[in-house]
Symmetry: C2
Subunit: 210 residues, 2 copies
DNA sequence: TATTCCATGTAATTCGTTACATGATTCT
DNA sequence: AGAATCATGTAACGAATTACATGGAATA
């Protein structure tokens, strides 16, 4: 059986490629704060993987100069070999990421749940998407100020912008969805068909050249 | 330990709530064709779950009138109890769906991978998003024609539109990402900061009322 | 006749989360 | 003194995929 990717490895290597040194706890923090909107890792994944990476020589523990008490805290740094492995992974095309959106499931099966229920799911998405879009919008200026000398700045901005665009798309979708449901309630499938035609034209935009 | 959701159950119940009767194979087909862009199930999940749902009385096997040979094919239909359970699940707010996008990981760690690599990842997304947006755009007219009498039509259109908006957002993002990288190559972080300000303003749109 | 598709199901293995155990440090 | 947070790690369990085994029906 061909073994599955084990992406956690590369997340850890990636973080250690930018962070110089980090503990398991640090890595968890980094993931939650910086890439939490498109990736997550739990301690149960991180700690065992750190041990394996160490055993494989891709990372190495760092001598900890203990400030006072013998506080147990293991920091690691990436090895040259680790960098090579990371780079070769980065250069391979990304594997397709399966997406599972439970809220769309609940909307897709909307007839069995009832229209009011469907509406409240959509309203929930709209609210959440609005909050997220605002949050992403607020982060960018901070990042531009605080990380003006950070060589990783562009890449952080790239993923941040992706988060914003995704939130914005959901917000737009939620508004269109509400319009379609109103049309459905008033005019059934024929009403929906009419409302659909009023939505921004699809083909035109996609064909547009950059 | 609080048991985890087991969404496969409700996917099966949902499909049987609209489909009247279906086999494990049919369910797999349905998932792949109708909701594959935001949900997926494998046989290894479906078949055991069908057995459990049967044992719990939420679905029931249907007598199969065999056309000729004794072909083994088990079709199931949802029971009244199954409908009750489905409905109560649908009415609960959707659990947050963890998202994992490997391609963003590769972009986020772009410095370790090199600019050309990052560019090719973005180009890949742009191509894929374009194809998807076009595909979604092509499905809608078909659906409006073929399913004019289908009581589930609106809900299918809703999720279809979500897929389109997502693809479109990625396409827009990819173009912006390319612009940011060009600015970075020419002017480093200061170039990026300048290019960032030229992107469509963030706050304005989100504050807009429907 | 060979290949593809229909069809069901199990086994092996990995992925990933949650809960638990444990203890130090910092803040109120 | 007590609460919150920092910090590491393991155990248990469920989720999910992939591969395998098996065989009929249709089609080229």
């Amino acid at each position: 059986m061909t073994p599955r990717p084990n992406t956690t490895r590369f997340v850890i290597l990636g973080i250690l490629s930018t962070e110089e040194s980090a503990s398991g706890y640090d890595i968890r923090q980094f993931v939650a704060l910086s890439i939490g909107h498109f990736w997550q890792e739990s301690f149960g994944q991180i700690y065992p993987e750190l041990a394996r990476l160490d055993a494989d020589g891709l990372i190495a523990p760092v001598r900890e100069r203990r400030t006072a008490g013998n506080r147990s805290r293991k920091r690691y740094q990436i090895t040259p070999h680790g960098r090579v492995i990371l780079k070769s992974w980065l250069q391979q095309p990304a594997a397709p990421s399966p997406v599972r959106l439970e809220y769309l499931l609940k909307i897709f099966f909307g007839r069995a749940g009832g229209l009011p229920t469907t509406r409240s799911h959509i309203a929930g998405i709209e609210k959440q998407a609005t909050e997220r879009a605002r949050a992403f919008a607020a982060i960018a200026p901070e990042l531009l100020q605080d990380s003006a000398a950070d060589p990783d700045l562009v890449f952080a901005l790239l993923t941040l912008r992706h988060g914003y665009r995704t939130a914005e798309a959901r917000l737009q979708w939620a508004r269109e969805a509400e319009a379609l449901l109103r049309a459905f309630e008033r005019g059934g499938n024929r009403g929906v068909a009419a409302a659909w035609k009023k939505l921004p034209a699809l083909e035109a935009y996609v064909d547009e050249s950059p």
